[in-house]
């Protein structure tokens, strides 16, 4: 007040104090008052303090952040329905345990006891509410034995080993179409794989590998014939496509070999395997084969080790050349 009086005196000394200036001085002090009174309230809220009217003290609180998928769930705090829906933040909660129930029609409720600590944010932002009646939809139109979801191309492939046919559709079951008929193997196939270029697929059992090309149903007459390569030397564990969609990698019980995907092709030996049932994995992005094999160490014991066989184009081709020459 003293400051204001001095200021008004100063203005009077200068010869004029207009109505605007009086209003301005009042506005200035009103602004200062709002700032000084509003700031503690905003800061206490920001820092998570709650003013307790009964004790006239500031109490430390915590808060819970809820985010559900889907949004819009009703929130029950200690069995009391709150007038809010998710996503929501419950603020100024005194430290302790709270029973929380999130309820949305047609979905299973989410019920949990949540602990709130002073000056802490409890974040529950990945809550999924599961539907009571899940939306299940049939995608296939014909009998099939196995399927593969091609995430990259957003397609689904269905193979029927009874009818020896392969079909595809999009992820919603639309655009369902037959891609190929193929020649059956002597025994039921162990596995099948679509080539990286999505033009053909292979299927195999322990001693045969079949290949078939995809053709649209309308062009069935123009399709290239499917063929089978016999592999009598050893039991096939797994077969992988090389990224060039022309070579395949055959993991047998005793060795690992490569071969071209064409009729009358001959396998090329890459390396042998001591362990008949070790796990195998192929990374097509780098054309690298990972496999477990056992080796005898200098102490006379046998240990399992993980090995890596790089089959990227340059190494692979030179290896094939060398082995072919041999």
């Amino acid at each position: 007040m003293r400051l204001r009086r001095e200021y008004l005196l100063l203005l009077r000394k200068r010869g004029s104090i207009s109505a605007e200036q009086r209003i301005r001085v009042l506005l200035f002090f009103l602004s200062v008052t709002i700032f000084l009174t509003g700031l503690p309230i905003i800061l206490s809220f920001a820092l998570g303090y709650k003013f307790d009217r009964r004790t006239l003290k500031f109490t430390k609180t915590g808060l819970i952040v809820f985010r559900t998928q889907p949004a819009g769930a009703n929130v029950y705090l200690n069995r009391q329905l709150l007038d809010i829906k998710t996503p929501v933040t419950l603020t100024e909660l005194l430290p302790g345990n709270y029973n929380i129930m999130l309820v949305l029609d047609e979905y299973y409720p989410w019920i949990n006891d949540v602990r709130v600590d002073a000056n802490r944010v409890t974040r529950l932002e990945k809550i999924i509410l599961f539907p009571l009646r899940p939306d299940v939809k049939q995608l296939n139109r014909y009998n099939f034995s196995s399927f593969w979801v091609d995430e990259a191309k957003e397609d689904i492939y269905y193979i029927g080993f009874e009818e020896n046919s392969i079909y595809s559709s999009d992820l919603h079951g639309q655009h369902y179409r037959r891609l190929a008929n193929f020649t059956g193997l002597t025994t039921k196939p162990l596995g099948w794989k679509v080539s990286p270029d999505r033009n053909k697929f292979l299927y195999f059992n322990t001693n045969q590998i079949g290949f078939s090309y995809f053709v649209l149903s309308a062009d069935m007459d123009k399709r290239r014939p499917s063929f089978i390569i016999n592999y009598p030397l050893g039991k096939i564990i797994d077969v992988f496509w090389h990224s060039d969609s022309y070579h395949i990698i055959i993991v047998g019980e005793n060795d690992i070999e490569a071969m071209e995907a064409r009729p009358h092709s001959r396998p090329v030996f890459l390396t042998n395997r001591n362990k008949k049932s070790g796990a195998v994995s192929y990374d097509i992005s780098t054309d690298t084969l990972y496999f477990i094999d056992s080796q005898e160490a200098s102490d006379g014991n046998t240990y399992d080790n993980l090995y890596k066989l790089e089959l990227n184009s340059r190494n692979f081709l030179s290896m094939l050349d060398k082995n072919n020459l041999r």
């Binding site: 010869g15 602004s31 709002i34 700031l39 905003i42 920001a46 820092l47 000056n119 944010v121």
Partner: protein, 485 residues
């Protein structure tokens, strides 16, 4: 000092956001809350200033002068108008002089001095062309040529204006006109006065106590080419006009800016404008303030003088042009060392008064340089750099919500600015399509971008240059109407 302070605040807050994000967040919330209160306060002042401008818009000031008691005869007053000119051509100068000719004030009481820079090759031709048109219209019309490289001078507008004032002094002496009877107005070359300007100026001069101990500041608007200027350039200049309107309400802090008027006697007493400083328009006020030992003030005139929006042929050139112009304005920070040094040698001003004026000047420049940085750059830093511990704290969760809420509230005041900006616009020229009205409405959405690029950044640049003693040269804003219309 202002540069060190501005950088100190920014660096301190950046490091604080890493080491003590909670303290940093608290400081940000305090600043943001302070800023919103300040914005509301200043917007209210703007509304008041706008109301006053509307009220005084249609007053017949000359009649008011005529109605004054006879002892204060308006007819004894002479108006000396100085236009310091550098590269501005006839397309800019002719409308300014035409506005003087059209002004509602006896021309036999007006003396016009066009002061060309001698180093500009076009100066003589332009002077001759204008003399042919305007010689004989006023009591005096002088074309003077400011020589380049006079001892003690830098290439500044103040040096040119001072040369013109000295030449005008000779003219006044030859006519036997006393300096006390003369009000000098120093206008930018593109300044077009309102037709009532000199009547209004005379009235305030005659009715103010101690009229020689005051400068008279009109409201600068940038209406000459505002309908043709690009959005962001228009917004920047409208904001500049609004800032002047706000300042006009804070008379205890009000300082002259750009085109202004004052007693010629005072101008001679204080040895004219500074001849080696860029911010001549404000330094001349401080010179008078020190000369009169603090008993000097700026009287706001709620009447407009219209100037050009600075813009160039393409977007990036316009941004650079605007940036350089704002940096030159921000170079007014050189007033601070000038004032402090002046205070050290001045004995008639109370310590409190010195402290307050120094603080006001320092605070305004530091705030100019840092506020947009704090709001737009520093505010997200505690969240980005504070780590998981900070994000688990209530303040880590609340900071973006509180600052967002506060700043949204501030944006609300932008709506008031928007509507007021419509009120000071001149009528839309016929060649401009109506759709431009819509663009002028929507362009306010880019305000947050502008305040950082053309708000704080040029000010920080200017302060850094002053701090590192990399003194700026006067770079006049290129003003030419041909590119716009």
């Amino acid at each position: 000092m202002p540069g060190a302070l501005s950088w100190g605040i920014i660096i301190f807050l950046v490091f604080l956001s890493i080491w003590h994000p909670i303290i940093c967040a608290v400081l940000i919330i305090i600043f943001d809350f302070y800023w919103i209160i300040r914005t509301i306060y200043l917007t209210t002042l703007l509304v008041m200033a706008h109301k006053k401008l509307s009220q005084e818009k249609n007053i017949d000031w000359l009649k008011r002068c005529q109605d004054l008691p006879s002892k204060k005869s308006w007819y004894d007053i002479y108006h000396l108008v100085i236009f310091p000119v550098y590269k501005e051509g006839l397309d800019v100068l002719r409308p300014s002089l035409e506005a003087l000719r059209q002004s509602y004030y006896p021309k036999e009481r007006m003396i016009v001095v066009i002061s060309f820079e001698e180093r500009n090759g076009q100066a003589k031709d332009n002077a001759a062309a204008l003399e042919e048109e305007f010689q004989g219209v006023f009591l005096g019309y002088l074309s003077v040529f400011h020589p380049d490289g006079l001892p003690g001078e830098n290439r500044t507008k103040g040096a040119n204006a001072t040369w013109a004032a000295k030449k005008a002094r000779e003219f006044l002496g030859s006519r036997g006109i006393k300096y006390e009877q003369v009000i000098v107005s120093c206008f930018d070359a593109d300044t077009c006065v309102d037709e009532q300007y000199f009547g209004c100026l005379s009235y305030y001069f005659l009715t103010s106590p101690k009229p020689h101990q005051a400068s008279y500041q009109p409201i600068p608007v940038y209406n000459n080419n505002i309908w043709h200027a690009p959005s962001f350039a228009r917004l920047v200049e409208i904001s500049a006009s609004f800032c002047q309107m706000i300042e006009s309400m804070r008379i205890e802090k009000f300082v002259t800016f750009s085109s202004h008027s004052m007693s010629f006697k005072t101008l001679v007493d204080i040895d004219y404008w500074p001849v080696n400083m860029i911010s001549d328009d404000s330094v001349v006020y401080w010179k008078a303030f020190l000369f009169y030992k603090g008993n000097y003030r700026v009287i706001p005139l709620y009447i407009t003088v219209s100037m050009d929006v600075a813009y160039a042929s393409n977007f990036f050139k316009t941004v650079m042009l605007q940036y350089r112009q704002k940096r030159r304005w921000a170079w007014g920070v050189e007033n601070f060392p000038f004032l402090v040094e002046g205070f050290l040698h001045s004995k008639g001003i109370s310590f409190i008064h010195k402290l307050r004026r120094s603080f006001n000047l320092l605070e305004s420049h530091v705030t100019w340089a840092v506020w947009a940085f704090i709001i737009m750059v520093i505010t997200p830093l505690p969240i980005l750099l504070g780590g998981s511990f900070f994000s688990q704290m209530p303040i880590g969760y609340n900071l973006p919500r509180i600052t967002g809420m506060l700043l949204n509230f501030t944006l609300g005041s932008s709506l008031i600015w928007l509507f007021l900006s419509r009120a000071i616009l001149p009528p839309r020229p016929k060649e401009v399509k109506w759709f431009k009205n819509v663009i002028m409405f929507l362009e306010w959405a880019i305000v947050p971008l502008i305040i950082l690029i053309l708000g704080s950044l040029p000010a920080l640049d200017a302060q850094t240059r002053l701090m590192l003693a990399r003194y700026m040269k006067f770079q006049p804003t290129d003003k030419s109407r041909t590119r716009g219309s």
